[in-house]
């Protein structure tokens, strides 16, 4: 199966790989996995508590090229968004941006789930009651 150029670009030059201190109260961590392929993805956001803006995002994904590209793209999109804007990111946005084929849609779902999990973790930590919970 041929990967699109954008997937290849993210795959070969993943942005924002790494990790942040989980115990930092301003850091939200999302850890998700896909049962079909056993792939796991960790995505973290660092939020400015004053403004609610995501200042940094990091990820590490063990999985297929599409999952790596999806999470790499997600961290790019997350930086500079508010927490609520981040929750509005849909896996279909990722599918469109990366031109993922139908068999790779679950990889983008993984990225959306990871964003939601990270934001919810941050909200739970900072005492904000999560008004939106991860669907899917």
């Amino acid at each position: 199966m041929a990967y699109s150029n954008k997937v290849l670009d993210h795959y070969n030059h993943p942005r924002n790989v790494g990790s942040m201190d989980k115990s930092d109260p301003n850091v939200g961590t999302g850890m998700v996995g896909a049962p079909e392929c056993g792939d796991v993805m960790k995505l973290q956001v660092k939020v400015n508590p004053e403004t609610g803006v995501i200042e940094d995002a990091k990820f590490k994904t063990f999985g297929c090229g599409s999952a790596i590209a999806s999470s790499s793209l997600a961290t790019e999109w997350l930086r500079g968004r508010t927490v609520d804007e981040a929750l509005a990111i849909k896996n279909t946005d990722i599918v469109n941006e990366l031109s993922l084929p139908p068999v790779k849609i679950h990889c983008s779902v993984l990225a959306e789930d990871a964003i939601k999990a990270a934001i919810n973790d941050y909200k739970a930590k900072s005492g904000v009651t999560a008004k939106e919970t991860a669907t899917a």
Partner: protein
């Protein structure tokens, strides 16, 4: 349910292995195509089909895990889309160590062996849980079948699948890079 019917059994999760085997041999003999060599084409066809069903039924029902999987399938209870959340952290760590080992860092090996051993132990616990739930469910069959137990079994089977894939993955990697 076809597989149970083929062997003349009432559907249930607990089966006696010896009884199952006896039924399989008996019926296989009875339907053996050689015994119908002189029968009409339709008869012969039927014998072939029955033999195939008996084989599938026996192979599925003799294994408690495959049996439970079949039973749930027949009840239209499908796998969950989410892997066990409490394992993700550990799976992630294991993947980190696998990466190190692939890059030739032998110091990751003991950690991986530990992880493998833990997962193998977990698998045994899961199997134990499966049989406990199976016994419980079969008891409920005497009255109203307890569907919630089937959902619990679905969860156990999904976990089992996930954990045995992990064991397979780590074992593969441990064997490729044999230290000397």
């Amino acid at each position: 349910m076809r597989f149970y019917e083929a062997l003349g059994l009432e559907p249930g999760l607990m089966l006696d292995a010896q009884d199952l085997q006896r039924r399989f041999y008996e019926r296989s003999r009875q339907w053996h195509p050689d015994r119908r060599a002189r029968a009409g084409a339709a008869e012969q066809q039927k014998a072939l089909e029955m033999t195939a069903v008996l084989n599938d039924a026996f192979r599925t029902l003799r294994d408690p895990v495959a049996r439970a999987g079949y039973f749930l399938e027949e009840h239209k209870i499908v796998s969950s889309k989410h892997p066990p959340a409490e394992l993700l952290e550990e799976v992630f760590e294991m993947n980190m160590a696998l990466d190190e080992l692939r890059r030739g860092d032998e110091s990751a090996r003991p950690q991986l062996i530990d992880a493998r051993d833990r997962f193998v132990k977990l698998l045994a616990e899961i199997d134990h849980g499966l049989s406990a739930l199976s016994i419980q469910y079969d008891k409920s069959l005497r009255g109203t079948p307890d569907e919630s137990l089937l959902l619990a079994i679905r969860g156990v089977l999904d976990r089992r699948q996930y954990v045995s894939n992990l064991i397979r993955d780590v074992e593969k990697e441990l064997n490729v890079h044999v230290s000397n």
